[in-house]
């Protein structure tokens, strides 16, 4: 157990690509957390996927032993946060375990949308902020300009802004001193009943569920009988330890300390992130205030290509759910795709990552259906139901209105792109909220936009139309009625539920036409003509036909050709196996991806 006055708990928050992981590496290096042999770039990004994509997905914690030349020894707990807007909720859950935050801003790029969003989260959480300009080594760095920007936008005293280069290490020593000097020490008495917040967890195949937690009051020792206050689970503390970042067992953790807990539990689902751990024999009266439970906003069906893999898909989802509280699912059956799960995600990146992790870590081959937002549907009998899948949309006669989720979207862009961005927002049914100049060169636009419009390609279009200079953040801003219809796709006159989508009435025709054209290009010719139709109810709005195949035969087959012909046919047969039979029509997997990519613009 350590003296709380010698502990500092902090996070680094930043817009994506502003250098958070590199700074974390430098801090680990300066505090000798790893010897040089173990040092590799971006140590905290442990998942393969994070390294490949260069983004941070999961929050992680590491304990640094810092010797201040003037003040002596300190324990610094660095709690990493993800940088993508999809994962805002994980930022807030990391912040709940900290007293302070390093707000990292790229000295060339300046303040971006997520800089602001994350800074607001930290301020709301009562955290002390240390503003830091990064990438001083870049020729394009303009720290004086960005310093003024930070000061004016966030109301921060410019003299408190530090300057570093995470790449070269310049200024990192000063930052470590500032962390000790400016961030408050954790409060909390070791004599009070134990309260510790579980802020992350993962599944280890040997040890079972491993929780990351932060102790607020009391002590958590190996062997203690514990109670998880929200779930009511009573479990023993089999092992308690700290992450250096290697797991090192300790006798106990005291107030302000951050570490891990192993209870021996193997069953996923018995431990929830956000829960408070206390002692069974001396329970605390109230749980630690956690953070907002994340709500999934985007839904998509995940189906195993091979129907026998359904149970393995369920296991995979359960494991991911353990440290991804935002992931939800319920069983779904599709006439086209068989049995699978309707999964809820925070956004498209989250969806992509979950899918990739399932395929990579569990060796599953999956088909995902077009993502859809969750709708609230007001029925004629006055009831309101949530619809997460287009196929569940009640009949026209049974519903009074469809309400869709809206987001408050905040975009920061160079002023030369203001008109372009406003056009883009209008095309996506956005309505203007406010417009504010951050500086003569940069403007902040706040709009209200239906989530469905953001889900489909909005971010890519924003990036390309502003040559990557605009940044974006968004948050939920309620549900409102819109003029929405369901566009169904019929293959050979049979509706394919997996291709249905709920879209705005004004865009339905263009959407249906494009989707049908794309499908015609991707569905191979079959033994018979295959009509592809887009329909709203019984009204067909677009139609294409895949003409029947007329020739599919090897011209020659003599003695010497037989082995070769068989090999060729075998290869073609393997290609056919990867097709899905929808009724009597063979549809390649790519068709389901095409649906994800089509929007009406």
């Amino acid at each position: 157990m350590s003296d709380t006055s010698r502990i500092r708990n902090f996070s680094i928050i930043a817009h994506i690509d502003h250098g958070k992981s590199t700074l974390a590496d430098r801090l680990l290096e300066r505090t000798d957390a790893l010897d040089s042999r173990e040092m590799r770039d971006q140590v905290l990004d442990s998942m393969d996927l994070e390294r490949e994509r260069g983004i941070t997905i999961k929050a992680q914690a590491v304990r640094l032993n810092y010797h201040s030349p003037g003040r002596g020894d300190y324990i610094l707990n660095l709690i990493d946060t993800p940088g993508h807007v999809d994962f805002t909720y994980e930022v807030s859950r990391s912040l709940a375990a900290c007293e302070g935050a390093v707000l990292l801003v790229d000295a060339a790029q300046g303040v971006e949308a997520q800089t602001l969003a994350n800074a607001y989260l930290a301020v709301e959480g009562g955290l002390e902020i240390i503003p830091v300009l990064n990438k001083l080594d870049l020729a394009a760095a303009d720290p004086d300009r960005v310093e003024v920007e930070i000061a004016s936008v966030l109301g921060i005293d410019p003299v408190t802004v530090l300057r570093v280069s995470a790449k070269t290490g310049e200024g990192v020593d000063e930052l470590l001193e500032a962390i000790v000097d400016r961030l408050p020490a954790p409060q909390g008495s070791p004599d009070d009943p134990l309260r510790a917040l579980v802020f992350d967890s993962y599944y280890d195949s040997y040890r079972g569920v491993v929780c990351y937690l932060r102790v607020s009051e009391g002590t958590l020792g190996t062997g203690d009988p514990l109670r998880f206050m929200a779930s009511g689970e009573d479990l023993p503390a089999d092992e308690v330890g700290v992450l250096t970042p290697k797991a090192v067992p300790v006798a106990s953790l005291g107030p302000g300390e951050v570490g891990y807990l192993i209870t021996g539990v193997k069953e996923i689902g018995r431990i929830r992130v956000g829960d408070t751990v206390t002692r069974r024999d001396r329970p605390a009266a109230k749980a630690v205030p956690g953070y907002h439970e994340p709500k999934p906003m985007v839904f998509s069906g995940l189906f195993p290509t091979d129907g026998d893999e359904f149970e393995r898909l369920r296991e995979g989802l359960e494991r991911l759910r353990l440290n991804d509280a935002a992931l939800t699912w319920e069983p779904e059956s599709s006439r086209a795709l068989g049995f699978g799960f309707r999964c809820g995600f925070l956004g498209l990146l989250h969806m992509e990552i979950v899918r990739e992790r399932l395929e990579r870590e569990y060796g599953l081959d999956l088909v995902s259906t077009a993502p859809s937002v969750g709708f609230h549907v007001l029925l004629t009998d006055g009831r309101e139901v949530e619809v997460r899948s287009p196929q569940d949309l009640p009949d026209l006669t049974a519903r009074r209105e469809i309400r869709e989720p809206f987001f408050r979207v905040m975009i920061i862009t160079p002023t030369e792109f203001t008109g372009t961005v406003m056009d883009l927002l209008r095309e996506h049914r956005g309505t203007m909220g406010s417009m504010q100049y951050l500086s003569p060169e940069r403007v902040e636009l706040v709009y209200r936009v239906p989530l469905a419009e953001i889900v489909f390609g909005f971010f890519d279009q924003l990036k390309s139309r502003t040559r990557g200079y605009a940044s974006l953040d968004y948050e939920l801003d309620g549900y409102d009625a819109s003029d929405l219809v369901r566009v169904d796709i019929l293959l050979n006159s049979a509706p394919v539920d997996a291709f249905s989508a709920i879209v705005h009435k004004d865009k339905a025709y263009a959407y249906g036409k494009r989707l049908v054209e794309r499908l015609r290009g991707i569905i191979p010719r079959q033994l018979f003509d295959v009509p592809i139709q887009a329909a709203i109810g019984s009204r067909v709005i677009a139609r294409e036909t895949v003409k029947a195949k007329r020739k599919d035969v090897t011209a020659k087959c003599y003695g010497g050709d037989i082995t070769r012909k068989k090999k060729l046919l075998d290869k073609q047969k393997e290609g056919k196996k990867r097709m899905k039979m929808l009724g009597s029509v063979e549809v390649p997997q790519e068709a389901f991806i095409v649906v994800l990519q089509v929007d009406a613009d």
Partner: protein
């Protein structure tokens, strides 16, 4: 001939051919390799011809005879007429010495129109050949040029006439679907071949093979043959050949009664055949094996080491293969375990419903030969029963 008066697509004939035995001899040399060809061929290299013929003789002498004499011999290439007819006569004699040749056996040879003069035809007949297959390909000069062929339409007329006077059975090979070939050009080519009084017609859809000049052109973004155009031309040829009294007995082959190619009938019936030369494939005792493809390697090696690979088939695979190849014949196949499984499978049901496959208790037939590979893939996807 035992095939006289019998229709080429007669099921009894098709099945009987399974008991025949044959020999294939490969002559790989060509003056120029055609841009669509991916056979085991070699351009020029006159120096290799004598050692190649020696190696052929050695390989023939080292092989084991069947328990009956050969019913059919096929000398193909390459360009068999790139070596002297007398040298080919010695190859035939070597086969006869080692394997025996049945009385009235089919002795077939391939030839290019520009080579088959009346004199050459006579010399080949003297060497023992009674059937010739001419690589006519087209009677359209533009199509011939695209295909890299070296003969004129008039030379093809002359060669067909010379062939008719020297051989008992004459085939013309035609290729359809070449880039730039019109429907009327194709129709004219088929009509002109039929008018020449041929006994047998092979019409092949131009197929783009990897590694050939045509293959590279398509890989580089050039237009591949249009399958709809090829389907139209296939059907046009079928109509014209039928009107001329020819019977389609295999996907791409037509013959007048008494003139189906017996060597091909035996390979399509999964019969046994020996084969000699570089890249040659044989089928004996349930095993398919093949020789090294390169001519120089074939020449260097002893008969014991010329083989470069083999495929042994289990009982199920053998039956799948029998049905697979057999269904290319208009006569179809007896079902057997693989055929019964196919007919009863969901894919088989779909193919029957689509009018591609016809199922009778004692016979399976592909009635839309243009979609034959759909049936083949369904067959290969079956699990052993």
């Amino acid at each position: 001939m035992p095939t006289d008066a019998v229709r080429p697509d007669d099921p009894g004939l098709a099945d009987e051919a399974a008991a025949w035995v044959g020999a294939y001899v490969h002559i790989p040399f060509c003056r120029r390799v055609c841009p669509y060809c991916d056979f085991a061929v070699i351009e020029g290299r006159d120096d290799l011809r004598a050692p190649y013929l020696q190696a052929l003789a050695a390989e023939i002498a080292a092989d084991e005879p069947f328990d009956r004499p050969l019913d059919a011999v096929f000398v193909g290439g390459g360009t068999p007429t790139s070596v002297e007819p007398e040298a080919l006569g010695r190859v035939v004699a070597a086969l006869a010495a080692r394997f025996g040749v049945a009385a009235g056996a089919e002795m077939s040879i391939e030839a290019n129109p520009e080579d088959l003069t009346a004199e050459m035809a006579r010399r080949l007949a003297d060497a023992g050949f009674n059937r010739v297959s001419l690589g006519v390909q087209s009677f359209d000069p533009a199509v011939l040029a695209t295909l890299g062929r070296r003969h004129t339409p008039e030379e093809a007329d002359a060669a067909l006439a010379a062939a008719r006077s020297a051989f008992g059975s004459v085939n013309a090979d035609l290729i359809f679907g070449t880039l730039g070939e019109t429907a009327s050009s194709w129709q004219a080519s088929v009509e002109r071949a039929l008018e020449a009084g041929i006994d047998h017609l092979s019409t092949y859809a131009l197929t783009i093979e990897r590694g050939t000049p045509f293959g590279r052109a398509v890989a580089a973004g050039g237009p591949p043959p249009d399958p709809d155009d090829q389907a139209d031309k296939y059907l046009a040829a079928a109509t014209l050949a039928g009107a001329a009294g020819m019977v389609r007995y295999e996907t791409s082959n037509y013959a007048r009664p008494g003139h189906p190619c017996r060597y091909n009938l035996l390979t399509w019936a999964a019969g046994e055949y020996v084969a000699f030369g570089n890249g040659a494939h044989r089928h004996r005792r349930g095993t398919r094996s093949w020789n090294v493809r390169r001519v120089d390697r074939y020449v260097e090696r002893s008969p014991a080491t010329v083989r470069s690979g083999e495929e042994r088939l289990g009982p199920w695979e053998r039956d799948v293969e029998r049905v697979l190849i057999g269904l290319r014949r208009a006569a179809g196949v007896t079902p057997g375990p693989a055929g019964v499984a196919l007919a009863g499978s969901p894919a088989g049901t779909r193919l029957t419903a689509a009018g591609v496959l016809a199922v009778a208790p004692d016979r399976l037939r592909v009635v839309r030969p243009l979609l034959g590979d759909e049936v083949s893939r369904a067959l290969l996807a079956l699990d052993p029963t």
